[in-house]
Symmetry: C2
Subunit: 157 residues, 2 copies
DNA sequence: CTTGTGTGGTTGCAATATTAAACCGAATGC
DNA sequence: GCATTCGGTTTAATATTGCAACCACACAAG
């Protein structure tokens, strides 16, 4: 089987999926962003096998999404918290949430809505904007080859 | 293995992952949003086993992400194109792309950048806005229980 | 200090998914 | 008509997941 690795892929979507594109990682990250920190909290919340949770936490730490912190409630156990790189996944969670809110067949089964903490009102949909502020749809965008980074301070001739 | 189904979960993130959260589906959707339509195009582009591609395409069709259209270049084969529900996944792809662009250890390996088709300039980062237009970070948001939909036209007393 | 319990894992084994490769019929191309 | 491509299906080998049992350590009570 050997899940083909996407780490060397040139597509940024594939590269992201290589890091947290498996069945559980994003749910662990979601839980972490909701404030869960302990092994037992994740296990109880997600209901996954403990050995799987162990390996997922380990690779998420290896990849810089989570870090372990020595303690928090005084006990000698460790906790798992998001790094900045892990917090950066937040917009992806929002996008997933909003897709379900818009397209799910049984939206009545969705338990929660995301609100602006200050006002308590639902957030707006994520919008993709151009540099001059227009809202862009998929068809308004295209991909360009990334310009090669020019070598600094090295003469090209 | 029996991947535990997330379809009945009350979390919208989990529900989305249940639909296209496996190793290949999002990459197929990415390819479809780039205009690929044929079985062979997907297989060549992704390099996955053909039987897996077969089952993935079938479940994506079942779940309303893709639909088969009878032909397009006159040949008697069928093609796979995104439904509106499938096109709705676009912001998720953008969010994944932007996460890699911001946090990947080897950003020089990313081949493409997403640009505004009209102007050719890079798009801005997805922003989460409140109803009154403030940009929200993860800590500016919280989750609230979804208010139950009240039955229409039925007196509550 | 000894027993008991909860936390945070590890280890086996059975079940399942992925892969690569062979095979195959129908549709095209020549 | 003949070879090739397209779009799969089948098969066997291999990898991953899930479940359950086990285990070590920390901590608390006595």
């Amino acid at each position: 089987m050997k899940r083909t690795s996407l780490a060397g892929d040139s597509c940024p979507v594939a590269r992201a999926l290589d890091v947290f594109g498996d069945w559980w990682s994003l749910l662990i990250i979601r839980d972490a962003s909701l404030g869960r920190r302990r092994f037992g909290e994740f296990q109880a919340s997600l209901g996954l096998a403990k050995n799987i949770l162990t390996t997922r936490l380990r690779t998420l730490v290896e990849r810089g999404i989570l870090k372990t912190v020595p303690a928090s409630d005084g006990s000698a156990y460790q906790e798992y918290v998001l790094t900045p790189k892990g917090h950066g996944i937040f917009p992806i969670l929002v996008a997933l949430r909003q897709w379900t809110e818009e397209f799910d067949e049984h939206p009545d089964e969705i338990a929660t809505i995301m609100v602006d903490r200050a006002k308590g009102k639902p957030v707006k949909k994520l919008a993709l904007l151009s540099q001059d502020g227009r809202v862009l749809s998929a068809t308004d965008t295209t991909l360009k080859l990334r310009p090669a980074k020019r070598a600094r301070r090295l003469a090209t001739a």
